[in-house]
Amino acid sequence: MPGASGVPLIGYLIVAAAMFCIGAFTALRRTNAIMILMGIELMLNAVNVNLVAFSRFVPAGNGARGQVFALFVLAVAAAEAAVGLAMVIIVSRRRDTIDVDHINLMRG
């Protein structure tokens, strides 16, 4: 069943899965805290693509739920990003590095 634009659901899902994987890889692979944060944001946006795409295709009447869910995800992601950036700034001012491999006072 194609959407109004003629793109079938699977197209959106592939984009979302690709975004999620790129984000996850970035978050796990990079050591720069800002890059990790960007990876996480990409993963959250993949969730939104998924939700909005699904909301267009699920049985009638239930579509709004996905869109509302996506709005909540957006709002929460913004709060999360702001808190994360604040923490990164504090660490970078104190340590002169935001490389998580070098932020290792505690071990064991």
């Binding site: 899902l13 979302a16 999620f20 984000g23 996850a24 978050a27 796990l28 805290a33 990790i36 944060l37 996480i40 993963m43 959250l44 993949a46 969730v47 998924n50 939700l51 795409a53 699904f54 295709f57 699920v58 049985p59 239930n62 739920r65 996905g66 509302v68 869910f69 909540f72 995800v73 929460v76 709060a79 999360e80 808190v83 994360g84 923490m87 990164v88 504090i90 660490v91 104190r94 340590r95 998580v100 932020i103 290792n104 006072l105 505690m106 064991g108």
Partner: protein
């Protein structure tokens, strides 16, 4: 929309907001009184919770369920927050940080945990989880001038945010298959989806949800952030993370996994059981060579999560009841142990285990209390931890998973080693030369009394809480 049924959450959030407004009105020197505001707010919220319906009524358009389980978790989290408040007043002021902001964040985080525990819809569950998590990230990094606290906050944040996005992706897949966001509707739709062959995607979604929640409760192999977050956080927050944040994760697992996966129940309990054994073993074994007491307690709490997962793996009513009882026991004993640590570090003592040498002479009361809490964490009779483990083992045996009971028993034996190390250091090692006697404040004293009484009460007269826990665990499906 009717707000009438979420008064406990509204009250607590309002107190949080009042605190950040009072922060700019009340002068710095007199902010100690704000602790009282927070305590009154939490008590008020608890009283409101007691008057809420508990017959499984739905509220806010079906987003919220008010059943005995909701009541249990609301009171559990409020009790945790209350103890954190009591023992952070001196700690935070001693560190020269803003008490009002701290208490406001504790209120918001607890509100989030409560919303999560009473959710009957994945959207409100997610919002509650994030309100809890985001406040907790800030709390973990609250001591801005201590590099260790910064580091704890950053690591907790990066891991927690990653976990949230994995969990959300899983929820989006579940939504895609079922077209539903309500938890019971999801459970129903999953059964239909199964017959239509969509179940693989749904299972992938549920698997990702489990991974995300596994991160939040620090189950092995997703536990690596926990020791750093606990060691670096302000000590009251280490207690908060281990009781309220992990308790909320357990609540989410009960709500989401037990209910949504209910129709699919079967051998996934075995996998959860394997995860439980892995978690408790890794936690206990790694705790053996820790030198910092907060870090040791972090690994110990990883092990405790393993015990709790055992009850969830059994999945019977008795299993869930045992989990709830264990959470109550865990609240008192862990909070107690962290309170003792906080009162020692307020008095200028370090957090290395070697700093505890001769504590039995320098401050016999604190040493006796820490010994009681350790004995309870270990599971010695007449303490809360013993009754908790006993009920978990009983549930495992009756649920036909006796190997879990063996795992718990073996692990308790392993954990003797590191608890004994602390006890031996306190009682048998010589007193250091320049040791000073330790003073306590009224708030800390109150927190210590509550946690000690709670630990012993649940150990000697467990029936009341047992009854409550079993009542709450009946009919969650």
């Amino acid at each position: 929309m009717n707000f009438g049924t979420v008064w406990p959450e509204i009250i607590l959030a309002a107190v949080g907001m009042a605190l950040i407004l009072l922060d700019v009105i009340v002068p710095k020197q007199r902010q100690r009184a704000l602790g009282l505001v927070a305590v009154l707010g939490m008590v008020g919220s608890g009283v409101a919770a007691a008057f809420e319906p508990r017959n499984g009524a739905l509220a806010l358009g079906g987003m919220i369920i008010l059943d005995p389980l909701s009541l249990f978790f609301r009171l559990l989290f409020l009790a945790g927050a209350l103890l954190v408040t009591l023992f952070s007043v001196d700690y935070i002021r001693g560190k020269g940080r803003d008490l009002a902001e701290f208490l406001a964040l504790v209120c918001f985080a607890t509100t989030g945990a409560m919303i999560l525990a009473i959710s009957w819809n994945v959207v409100s569950l997610f919002v509650g989880l994030e309100l809890l998590s985001i406040s907790a990230y800030v709390l973990a990094g609250f001591l801005r001038d201590e590099p260790k606290s910064n580091e704890a906050g950053l690591k907790y944040f990066l891991n927690g945010a990653l976990a949230s996005s994995v969990l959300l992706f899983g929820l989006s897949l579940v939504y895609g298959v079922t077209g539903q966001t309500g938890i019971p509707e999801i459970a129903k739709a999953l059964v239909t989806a199964q017959t239509q062959g969509y179940s693989t995607v749904a299972l992938m979604g549920l698997g990702m949800v489990l991974v995300g929640l596994g991160f939040k409760i620090a189950a092995v192999p997703f536990h690596l952030w926990a020791p750093d977050a606990y060691e670096g956080s302000p000590t009251p927050i280490a207690g908060f993370l281990s009781v309220v944040a992990e308790g909320a994760g357990i609540a989410a697992i009960i709500r989401l996994v037990s209910v949504a996966m209910g129709p699919l129940e079967g051998s996934w309990g075995v996998w959860l059981g394997a995860l439980s054994i892995l978690t408790m073993t890794v936690g206990n074994v790694t705790a053996l060579w820790q030198k910092n007491i907060k870090r040791m307690l972090a690994y110990s709490s990883v092990a405790q999560v393993g015990y709790i997962l055992a009850g969830l793996a059994v999945g019977t009513t008795a299993g869930i009841g045992a989990v709830l009882f264990y959470l109550a026991a865990y609240l008192f004993m862990t909070m107690g142990a962290f309170t003792v640590i906080a009162s020692l570090s307020s008095a200028g003592q370090g957090n290395e285990i070697s700093d505890y040498a001769g504590l039995g002479v320098r401050s016999p009361i604190l040493a006796v209390l820490l010994t009681i809490f350790m004995a309870s964490l270990l599971g010695i009779p007449a303490t809360a931890g013993f009754m908790g483990k006993l009920s978990l083992i009983g549930a495992a045996v009756h649920g036909g998973m006796a190997w879990l009971a063996v795992g718990i028993a073996v692990n308790s034996a392993i954990s003797v080693a590191y608890y004994w190390l602390v006890a031996r250091t306190m009682w048998l090692d010589p007193v250091p030369e320049k040791a000073e006697p330790i003073r306590r404040s009224a708030e800390l004293g109150a927190a210590l009394v509550v946690t000690t009484v709670g630990t012993l009460f649940l150990g000697i007269l467990p029936q009341v809480v047992f009854f409550f826990a079993n009542w709450a665990s009946v009919g969650i499906r």
